[in-house]
Amino acid sequence: MQARTFILITLVVAAAGFAATQIVSNDYVFFAGYTVLQFVVLATAWNILGGYCGYVNFGSAAFFALGAYSTVFFHKAFQMPIPLLIVVGGVVSGIIGLGMGYLTLRLRGSFFAIATLALAVVLQTLIVNWDYVGGSRGAYIIRPSALNVAGREIPYIEYLFLLMLLLAVLAIIAARTIERSRLGFGFATIRDDELAAEASGVPTLRLKLIATTISGALMGMAGAPFPYYIGYLQPQSAFALDYAVNSIAMPMIGGTASWIGPLIGAILLGTIQQVATVTISSAVNVLIVGVLLVLFVIIAPNGLVGMVQDLLRRRRA
């Protein structure tokens, strides 16, 4: 399928999804939908480094929180429209991703993974001790109740939902484009056998740095609107382990080989979690994600997409 066609289809699907929300006259749809879409971005971003290159990032929360806190910082310094804040969040997280990658990507994959964990804790400690952005007491961002667009009043949460929808579209298009490009080809060789990739002329360090930067930037962009969504930002919620587990579990359960896996994983798991939070409790829903992650990693390493592909292959044979 041509790139242009795919972009068109994605935008149409997104528009249809948005239109569907207009039918339901309940704002809860926007709140829940925002969370699911946020996970789509996080899962897709994680997969660019994790699934395509084979480098596990345990510190998704760090990049997400960086986006959120750069919003808090700039909101206090100068008022900026959210789309600009999203770009800023992406730039900040991207730069940190690049820097961290430069420090640790020359080592083995397992060292990189541990370093990402370390980064999350260091950043959290720094933020907790930084009073300008609220420190451990947290920061308030007053969310306006509505936005005036061309004379019509839109609930602010609907505006945030729309932004996250567009961000999800961007993330998916980016992932698919990378996957099919020479860059994605290089990523796959790094994942399969980094030593052989180097010997074949692939500049592995440069590619890994690109992956880390793009992945980090996207996660930062996902985090930038978060203070407006939640109203009161605390380090505990920004750096919550949930983000790390979900951004790993969703691609691994969905399937890491292509952009479809994280999308499916995010929508499926995100929806399950929304339902579980409301019906059972929020602690249990996060436990479910952890258990599913371990089960899938043992039993179905290629994820749901992989299982479907195997089924189709067996039907054909």
Binding site: A188, E198, S200, V202
Partner: protein, 244 residues
């Protein structure tokens, strides 16, 4: 006297307390067919790794085509024109056989020639290299579907696809039948006739003797012989290394 293509001067490498390479001096002339032999653990693979950049030598220098390569990462050396096959094949498992060959073409060759290589040209060269090792009928298969022998051929083909000036074939003939060895030898000779300098590392003595113009023997990290193959084999030190 033409300048050597590869010039290795006093190269040394240790792993902790273990000395893998001890002051190796070696020159390879352009277009030469060099055989490199030695007992297991003598440092042959370590030397190859130091030449290719997979490992970095602590002392001495490696100069290729007039250019000092010390400190250069492996992928840049491949772009400069050094390619190697791995002793234990390391194919890209999630790519097809043909795609495995596209990697060096897409990266090393393209980096070398700028943007003058079109997509169709790349595909044509892919097919050509596959045909050279008789793997074109398996172009769309995955490496896990190949036999051991075919994987070795893929390994060699992937090194070829980097279109090197210097090809280092690291034990590509292990486990092959007599006729298959003949096929590989014929291929290597043909490549050499086209101008590719070849270093052959092998334990199969008949192949090494018939192929090499010059023979180098490595024992315990040191070069103990370097010259005409027949003379080298008569060297008492070499005899001792293999028999004593």
């Amino acid at each position: 006297m033409t300048a050597p293509l590869l010039h290795i001067e006093q190269v040394g490498k240790r792993f902790g307390g273990f000395v893998a390479l001890d002051g190796i001096n070696l020159e390879v002339a352009p277009g030469e067919r060099l055989g490199l032999i030695g007992p297991n653990g003598s440092g042959k693979s370590t030397l190859v790794n130091c030449i290719c950049g997979t490992l970095h030598n602590e002392t001495g220098s490696v100069t290729f085509d007039g250019r000092k390569m010390d400190g250069l990462p492996a992928h840049q050396r491949t772009v400069l024109g050094v390619a190697r096959s791995f002793q234990l094949p390391r194919p890209f498992g999630s790519l097809s056989v043909a795609e495995n060959l596209r990697v060096p073409l897409l990266y090393a060759v393209k980096a070398r020639s700028g943007s003058h290589l079109s997509a169709t040209e790349l595909d044509e060269r892919c097919v050509e290299y596959l045909r050279l090792v008789a793997l074109d009928h398996k172009a769309t298969r995955r490496p896990r579907d190949l036999t051991q022998v075919e994987m070795r051929k893929l390994e060699l083909a992937r090194a070829l696809a980097a279109e090197p000036k210097l090809l280092i074939a690291d034990e590509s003939m292990a486990g092959l039948s007599h006729s298959e060895i003949e096929d590989i030898l014929k291929l290597l000779l043909e490549l050499n006739a086209r101008g590719i300098t070849i270093i052959l590392i092998e334990h199969i003595m008949s192949a090494v003797m018939s192929f090499s113009q010059r023979l180098v023997v490595l024992v315990s990290g040191r070069k103990i012989a370097d010259g005409n193959p027949a003379e080298v084999m008569r060297n008492p030190e070499v005899e001792k290394a293999y028999l004593g």
